[in-house]
Amino acid sequence: MTFVAKPKIHHPLLKVNEIGLKRRDYEGLVSTLCAGCGHDSVSAALIQACSELSLPPHKFAKLSGIGCSSKTPSYFLGNSHGFNSVHGRMPSVATGANIANRDLIYIGVSGDGDSASIGLGQFAHAVRRKINMLYIVDNNGTYGLTKGQFSATNDRGSTNKRGVPNLYTSIDLVSMALQIGASFVARSFSGDKTQLVPLMKAALLHRGFAFIDVISPCVMFNNHDGSTKSYGYIRDHSAPVVDADFIAPQEEIEIYYAPGTAETVAMPDGSSLRLRKLEDSYNPRNRVDALAYVQNALDEGEVVTGLLYVEDDSVDCHEVLETPDVPLNSLDESVLCPGSAELAAVNDSFR
C-alpha cells in the first residue's frame, strides 16, 4: 500500500490556491495499490495539477473502467463524484455524462487493457466524437489487476515476468488518437511529474478530447529487465518533446527545460530519469508530422514524451450536437415538454 503524497512538509502543500483550497482538498482516499505502482504517481500529479489550476473539486466528474488504473479515481478529488463502470466501457459512460452536463470537468482514467484491448472501439469513438475531457491511460503494458497477462500496448519481443516473449505487434494509442482526430495528444511518464503536471494542466484547460498516454510501470508484473514498460527501460529510451510555446487559454504553462539541455528528474522509486528536450523546430500543431514523428521514434525503439499535438481552434461534442449553453440535465418540463396544443398538431399529422 502506498500513500498518495500526504502533506508532511509545509510548503508548497499547505499553500492556499486562488479559490482558498489546499492541496489536501484535492486528495482522495488512501490508495490500495502496490507500493511503487506508477498509477499512484499519476494520481498525485492530477492532484497537483487540479489544485494548481484552482479548479473547484466538486465540479469534476471522474470516470473509469476496470483495472488497477481504473481504481485510482478513488484516490484523488475526494469531493467529486466518481464512476467506476465496466471494463473497457468508460468512454461511452463519459460520453453520456458529458452530453448530460457540459459544465463539469471530466477526467477519465483507464488502463492499457481497458482502452487498447477490450475498450479499443469505445476509445476510438470517444476520440472522434470530440468528447470534452481529459482521458488518461495508465499504460503499463500489462493487465495488473488480473496478474500480469500481456496487454495490447506491450511491445513485441518484450517478455513477461516468467520470461515468455510477447508475439504480437503493439498498439500505440498515441498514434491512434492522432490519427482519429484528438485535439490534444501527449505522452508522459508517471515518474516524471515535472513533465506530467504541466501536461495535465494544459489538457484540463483544453476544449475537446485531450489524451495523455502515461507510461506507468507495474512494479508487480512489468518492472523487470525484459519489459519495455519498466522504469529502467523507459529511463533509457525516452525521447521527450516539450512544446516551447503552448499558451493555455487562461494561463501559461511553464516551460521546464531550454532546448538542447538535459534535466534529471527524480523518480518515486528513488532512481532518476534523464529527459532530453528536442529542438525548437518540433511543431505540435501539425497532426501529420506528429504522427510521423511518433512512428519514426517507435521504429527506433524510442518513446517520445511531451505534448505531441494540440489544435488551437478545437471544438467539442456540444458544438457538433448544437446543444444549448446550459446543461441538458438542468432542463425541466417547462422546456422539454411541448404541451397539449403541440400534441394536437402531432395527432393531426397522423390523420
Binding site: 466518481g82 448530460a100 441538458l328
Partner: protein, 607 residues
C-alpha cells in the same frame, strides 16, 4: 349480399419496386374515410428484389389480427403467384396484371378473377422506364378505388399533399390513378360486393405505428439523450425521436437543440451513454432489439446494481441475429427480465397499441427515475413498424415529471450525513445526488461491485446480502408503481391472459369462441413485476390460458417465478412462426383444450 368495411386485402409486391407508397396511400385513404384500419408489412431482410406483402385489414368490429385466409389479393409479384393465390379464401378476389394472360398457376375455380392489363395500360402513357415501373402501383391503386368504392377525392387530395412543392409529380400520379380507375369502371364489375363506405368509427383517431408513437412519448416524457445503434425493427424509434425533437425541441431563438441523439458504435456503447447520462441526471434512452439486448447485458447489471435510471425500448423480433430479423416475436422476455450476471431483475412494460407506446414511453422515464433502475418497454415488430388506427395521444398540461429522489444543494445543506444507499424511507430506494451539486456534501463513488450503504467499497458478506435484500424491497415498491392489468371479468370459469400484440387478434378470437359457446374472462398483462390482480385472476379461474408469441412460454415462467402460481394453473397457447399471431390460431388452441379436457361450454352449439 354486399358487406361493408370488413375485409382483409393483401398486396404482393417485389421489395424496392415503389409499392410501399401506393400501398400506404391505399390504407390511409380508408382511414380518412373514417374506417378503422390496421396494416401489416411482411418484408424480407433485404433492400431490393425479394417478395414483400402488405396487408390491410379493415374492420368495424375491431378485428385486427392477421387472418390466414385473405379476401382480396393484389398479386403483383409473379414469383409468388402460387402461394398468393393459395391463401385466398373461397369466393375471394384475385387482382393481377393480365398483360401476358393468366398464368396456369393461377387457376382456381372458386375465386373471382380480376385481370387488369396494367403493363399494357402504362406503356403508351409513360416513356421513362422508371416511371413505368413506379406507376404500375398507382394504376392498381386507381383500379382498387373503383373496385372497392373508395372516395376518389381523398386519394387525389393525398397525392396533391404528398407531392406539394414537386408539382410536376402530381399530374402524372393522378393520371396513372385515373387510368386504373377508368379501366375498372369500363371493363370490370364495380364495385365488389365487399366494399367500403364512409364511417364514423375512426373519427378522432390517429393512424400511426408504435415506434413513432414511442418516440413522441419520449419527447413528451422529457428524454434529452438518445443513444442507439441501428437494428431492425427498432431503428425508427430513434429516427422518429430525432425528427420530432428537431421540430418540437429546437430553441426557436438560438437554434440550439434541447436534446442530443448519438448513433453509437454498438449497443454496448449505446447503453453506456444512456447510463452515463442517467447518472448525471438527464433522461436518456436507447432503442434496440434482441441482439442488442444481448450485447447490453453487462451494462444492464451495472445499472441495476449501481441504481441508475435508464430507459430501453426492445422492439422484439424473431431470434437470433441472423435469423428472421424482419419477423415478429415476443421472445426476449426472459433475457430482458434477468439480463446480466448476478442476481438482477428488470421491470418491463408491455404496450399493445400505438397510444400505449406513447403512454408507456413517457411513463417509463418517471418510473425509471423514481426507482433508479432500468425500465424496458417491450414492444415488437408487429406493433412497432405497422401503422394502425389508434386512440390519439393526450397530455395533461401541468403534468410534472417525477424526477425521483434527487437531493438538491439545499437538501444537502440541511442534511446530516449523506448515505447513497441508505433506505431511510423503507421503500428500498435511497437518495441520490448528481455530480457537481455541492462543494463538500453528497459526493460518492459509483461502482458496480460491492459497497456499503454509504457507497464505501467493502467486500463484507453482510453488506452484500443486506444490499441485495434492500433491492428485493425495492422490487416490491416497483410492483406497486407499474401499470395494472386490464381486466374483463364476467364470472366465467375460464380466463385468458395475453400481452403486447397478442391483444390485436383477441377481440376476434373472443367473438369466434362465443360462436362456439365458449366465453372467457380476459386479463391483459401490462407490466412486470405483476400486480396482485394477476395472482387473483389466476386463482379465481379453474382454467387459465396464456397466449404468447414465443416457444418457451416465457411469460409463464415469469409468472411462476414472480407470483405464487403453480405451473399447472396455466395452459400455454404458443405461436412462434414469426408472423403475428392470428385469431384462428388462438381459437383452435382454446377449442382443442376444451375438447381434450371435456370442459363445459356455456351453450350447446348447433353444427
Amino acid at each position: 349480399m354486399t358487406t361493408y368495411n370488413e375485409f382483409v386485402i393483401r398486396f404482393a409486391n417485389v421489395n424496392g419496386s415503389g409499392s410501399a407508397s401506393a400501398n400506404g396511400m391505399f390504407a390511409k385513404s380508408l382511414f380518412r374515410m373514417g374506417i378503422p384500419v390496421a396494416t401489416r408489412n411482411i418484408f424480407p431482410s433485404n433492400i431490393q428484389g425479394l417478395p414483400t406483402w402488405f396487408e390491410v385489414r379493415i374492420s368495424e368490429r375491431g378485428h385486427f389480427g392477421r387472418r390466414e385466409d385473405i379476401d382480396i389479393m393484389v398479386a403483383m409479384n409473379a414469383e409468388t403467384y402460387e402461394e398468393d393465390v393459395a391463401c385466398l379464401r373461397p369466393g375471394g378476389y384475385l387482382v393481377y396484371d393480365n398483360t401476358r394472360g393468366r398464368p396456369r398457376s393461377l387457376q382456381r375455380s372458386d375465386i373471382v378473377d380480376v385481370g387488369i392489363p396494367i403493363t399494357k395500360l402504362i406503356l403508351p402513357e409513360f416513356s421513362d422506364p422508371k416511371q413505368r415501373q413506379l406507376f404500375k402501383n398507382i394504376v392498381y391503386l386507381g383500379a382498387m378505388s373503383a373496385l372497392l368504392n373508395i372516395d376518389f377525392s381523398i386519394l387525389t387530395g393525398m397525392v396533391s399533399s404528398q407531392y406539394r412543392g414537386k408539382d410536376a409529380l402530381i399530374k402524372p400520379n393522378i393520371h396513372a390513378m385515373e387510368i386504373g380507375r377508368n379501366y375498372a369502371y369500363k371493363y370490370l364489375d364495380c364495385p365488389f360486393d365487399m366494399q367500403v363506405r364512409h364511417s364514423e368509427l375512426a373519427k378522432g383517431k390517429i393512424f400511426v405505428d408504435g415506434n413513432e408513437s414511442a418516440a413522441i412519448g419520449a419527447v413528451y416524457g422529457g428524454a434529452t439523450v438518445c443513444a442507439w445503434y441501428p437494428i431492425t425493427p427498432s431503428t425508427s424509434v430513434a429516427e422518429a425521436f430525432e425528427k420530432h425533437a428537431l421540430k418540437l425541441r429546437t430553441n426557436q431563438d438560438t437554434g440550439r437543440k434541447n436534446f442530443a441523439v448519438i448513433q453509437a458504435e454498438d449497443e454496448l456503447a449505446a447503453l453506456g451513454m444512456v447510463i452515463g447520462a442517467g447518472w448525471n441526471g438527464a433522461r436518456a434512452f436507447t432503442a434496440t432489439s434482441g441482439p442488442g439486448i444481448s450485447l447490453m447485458n453487462e451494462f444492464l447489471g451495472l445499472a441495476y446494481f449501481a441504481e441508475i435510471p435508464a430507459v430501453l425500448f426492445d422492439i422484439q423480433r424473431a431470434g437470433p441475429s441472423t435469423g428472421m430479423p424482419t419477423r415478429t416475436q415476443q421472445s426476449d422476455l426472459l433475457s430482458v427480465a434477468f439480463a446480466s450476471h448476478g442476481d438482477t431483475r428488470h421491470p418491463m412494460l408491455f404496450p399493445s397499441s400505438p397510444k400505449e407506446c406513447f403512454d408507456f414511453a413517457s411513463a417509463s422515464f418517471d418510473i425509471s427515475e423514481r426507482i433508479q433502475s432500468p425500465v424496458v418497454v417491450m414492444s415488437d415488430l408487429d406493433l412497432g413498424m405497422n401503422e394502425m388506427t389508434s386512440d390519439p395521444f393526450d397530455w395533461e398540461d401541468g403534468r410534472k415529471y417525477d424526477r425521483g429522489k434527487v437531493m438538491s444543494f439545499d437538501d444537502l445543506e440541511e442534511s446530516e450525513a449523506f448515505g447513497r444507499y441508505v433506505d431511510s424511507d423503507g421503500d428500498g430506494i435511497g437518495y441520490r445526488t448528481l455530480p457537481g451539486t455541492h462543494p463538500s456534501k453528497g459526493s460518492f463513488f459509483t461502482r458496480g461491485t460491492s459497497r456499503d450503504e454509504y457507497a464505501v467499497y467493502t467486500e463484507a458478506p453482510e453488506a452484500y446480502s443486506e444490499n441485495m435484500d434492500r433491492l428485493v424491497r425495492k422490487w416490491e415498491t416497483i410492483r406497486e408503481l407499474m401499470p395494472k392489468s386490464e381486466i374483463y371479468e364476467a364470472n366465467h370459469r375460464a380466463g385468458i391472459l395475453f400481452y403486447g400484440t397478442s391483444a390485436t387478434p383477441m377481440k376476434e378470437s373472443l367473438d369466434m369462441l362465443y360462436e362456439e359457446g365458449v366465453e372467457l374472462d380476459t386479463l391483459r398483462i401490462r407490466s412486470f413485476p405483476f400486480g396482485h390482480e394477476v395472482q387473483e385472476f389466476i386463482d379465481s379461474h379453474s382454467t387459465v390460458f396464456l397466449v404468447e408469441q414465443n416457444r418457451d412460454a416465457q411469460m409463464k415462467t415469469l409468472i411462476v417465478t414472480d407470483l405464487n402460481v403453480h405451473p399447472d394453473q396455466i395452459q400455454s397457447i404458443l405461436y412462434y412462426g414469426g408472423m403475428s399471431i392470428s385469431a384462428d390460431f388462438i381459437v383452435n388452441a382454446v377449442l382443442e383444450a376444451y375438447e381434450r379436457d371435456k370442459l363445459p361450454r356455456l351453450r350447446e352449439v348447433s353444427s
